[in-house]
Symmetry: C2
């Protein structure tokens, strides 16, 4: 029997969707790497009864480990430690060493706000030093300490802000209680393929065919999803099934050689960064208005290959900053192949770059016509040696979808040109 | 007793964090507007037992309405309808009218992929026309129909893709079964304040003081969260407590007049868009590399006030595209007040805009120094009439945090200048 875990995300602001939970997905990834089966993620508000019900649900479901995130702050609605202590039948006790640690952190933090009252803030934070008897303290990264409460299930209590939770995860994992709780885990391999330009239902059809030709197919745990306009195919399998997985990869490659662009999980962003090594790229964006440049610079060290970009939202900006002939816009419209090409040529020249990509399209909700409905986007990728590729697509979805998917299409065009 | 609901999000790709759930938050918002209390969001993979356990948990918790999202697709791991039918004790029956509807949708969709096999895809999609006996069909927006299964609790079954789920929500809500399930809902008011430039612990302190001076304070359900570098304070209350809420707003305004920038929930993005009416803005970005321009153009109609921007990632680009004197960079460094000012002046001139904002900083993880550590960011906002404001901050967090928060600081600077 494999080891199972559950995640309890707390916080009314997360439950009501005012902030997006980033911890559940991150912890899920860590659990997968460990070979711990994640059974459920539950999200509830800052109401003790609902939090208790979620803990009870997971305990009754038989999970070995519960991880909570959130509700460790100084405000009155932060109740996680109290609720977990009661759920585990433990008293809360003041940890004086922890109290001193928190005071030292606060003193440093408050030096940035000279007008604030240190003693008032310290008093407000004192409750963060109250812990369930017998729990192990995980040192705070912000001001909120984490906890590991041993038992069946063992409960790992972590703070809500991802930049605090993530470094604390590894310390919590190393505790004896957590190691014991996950001792029964199974080792799985996990591998990812990525495809672009294939409808999801055709992939489903391909997988049904693969099922007939690959003997151990049913023991491969395959999940597929559409993500940023690409298909992601993640497969988990026990190590002895690696041949069956290789068969699956070869099957899909033979059937869709052009669409299968990554068989090792590498993202299109990583491929483009790799292909750009030693070269520089510039962007010329209209409807995406900087999203492509922002995406190209998400990775540390991007300054080695990103020269910059122009967001040419108005026709005047296309002319003034990218040297697009206003006649061309008048004749073909701003959303057209000749204008995309002129934008790319302008970016190439202005930035003195080795490669350039241009995007011009209609993100909506307004501005569509019969001929060029909302979602129509023109792309051009050019190299300094004169080679180039053009493309135009009609993307589904709303304004945000069209803008985001356009950056994916642009990266794929750039990859094909650079490759 | 108020009406409560629970959400079951299904999909291994969501559970494992490979795609972020956007449906839970969106449905949560709709429920809040309706005055239905959301008790829990649960996320589970495409495993029938886990999905059944989640449904059972919510039913045992006494919710009146369960909304499921996901698992309605054509692939073998899409099992929601089958699981819900079994959970409700109902047989699956073929809905022939629905079968025809789906076939018609598929035919249209497949015309974009002439090489695909229509009959194979249609066969794969046939299971989408199998529904629990007695359920109401919600017409598909993609190819997956939704369902409302009456009972206690009533179960609303919706597809995973947000652009399919959202239009179907309203049809599902209008069914007799859902209306009956939520008949007991309470009407709540909900109002939002936003603050910028205040540490969270000082807000906590302010709220503790308010508690002592506002009589009905404890009946205001207040949640606070840090969001994109701002504090969001959302309060729910029964309509007769509107005076108490007004007292709270006035209390916070008196105490933090500069920090409280929105008392009606209006976002800084909306305020800036409003203040820009009749004017145009241009951006000059280094470390944010287009994120500010992208954020300014998130809203439909942004072309009325956004001229464009330059992503000047390299020093050469700062000189060539924004006219920043290389001497200035050599003397003060690219991350400095004079360079931020020169970038803003360059954007103002090149785009012929009425206002411009520049951002230059160190997003990390590399590039920091003792004097200018990672997170150091300089801003400048300028108007064509010569007025301007400078600012520099040291932002916490990782590369992505620093980049995102920088856009928030820039918008606040622009607001102060335009106001």
């Amino acid at each position: 029997m494999s080891t199972r875990a559950g995640i309890v995300v707390t916080g009314t602001e997360v439950l009501t969707g005012r902030i997006q939970d980033r911890n559940g997905p991150w912890i899920a990834d860590r659990l997968l790497e460990l070979g711990v089966e994640l059974a459920h993620v539950t999200i509830c508000g800052d109401r003790p009864d609902d939090m208790t019900a979620a803990l009870r649900f997971l305990a009754d479901d038989g999970v070995d480990l519960i991880i909570t995130s959130g509700g460790l702050g100084p405000t009155a609605d932060d109740l996680t430690v109290e609720v977990v202590a009661r759920f585990c039948g433990l008293d809360l006790v003041l940890d004086t060493a922890l109290d001193d640690t928190i005071a030292a952190i606060l003193r440093k933090l408050m030096s940035r706000y000279p007008q604030a009252d240190f003693e008032a803030v310290r008093a407000a934070n004192r409750k963060q030093a109250m812990i369930p008897a017998g729990a192990t303290v995980i040192d705070p990264v912000g001001t909120a300490p984490g906890l590991v409460v041993p038992g069946r299930p063992t409960v790992m209590v972590l703070p809500g802000p991802p930049r605090e939770l993530q470094p604390m995860w590894h310390s919590a994992l190393d505790t004896a209680a957590v190691q014991q709780a996950i001792a029964g885990r199974t080792h799985y391999e996990q591998a990812t393929m990525r495809m672009f330009g294939l409808p999801e239902s055709e992939l489903a059809d391909a997988l049904r065919t693969a099922q007939q030709s690959i003997t151990a197919f049913d023991r491969l745990e395959i999940t597929t999803c559409l993500r940023r306009g690409e298909l992601e195919i993640v497969t988990r399998y026990e190590p002895e099934l690696s041949d069956a997985y290789t068969e699956l990869v070869e099957f899909l490659r033979a059937r869709h050689p052009r669409e299968l662009f990554s068989d090792d999980g590498e993202l299109i962003d990583e491929q483009v960064a790799r292909l750009l090594a030693g070269r520089t790229v510039a962007t010329a964006e209209s409807c995406t208005a900087g999203l492509l440049a922002a995406r190209l610079t998400e990775r540390p060290g991007a300054s080695a290959y990103v020269a910059g970009g122009v967001v040419a939202y108005s026709n005047e900006a296309k002319a003034e900053l990218l040297g697009v002939d206003p006649e061309l816009i008048a004749r073909h419209g701003a959303v057209s192949e000749p204008v995309a090409r002129a934008m790319a040529a302008g970016a190439l020249a202005r930035f003195g770059a080795d490669a350039a990509v241009a995007i011009t399209g209609i993100a909506g909700p307004d501005g569509g016509t019969d001929e060029k409905p909302v979602g129509t986007v023109y792309f051009c990728a050019l190299l300094a040696d004169g080679r180039g590729m053009d493309r135009n697509v009609r993307l589904p979805g709303n304004r945000a979808d069209v803008r985001e998917r356009s950056t994916t299409v642009a990266l794929h065009l750039l990859r094909r040109l650079l490759d």
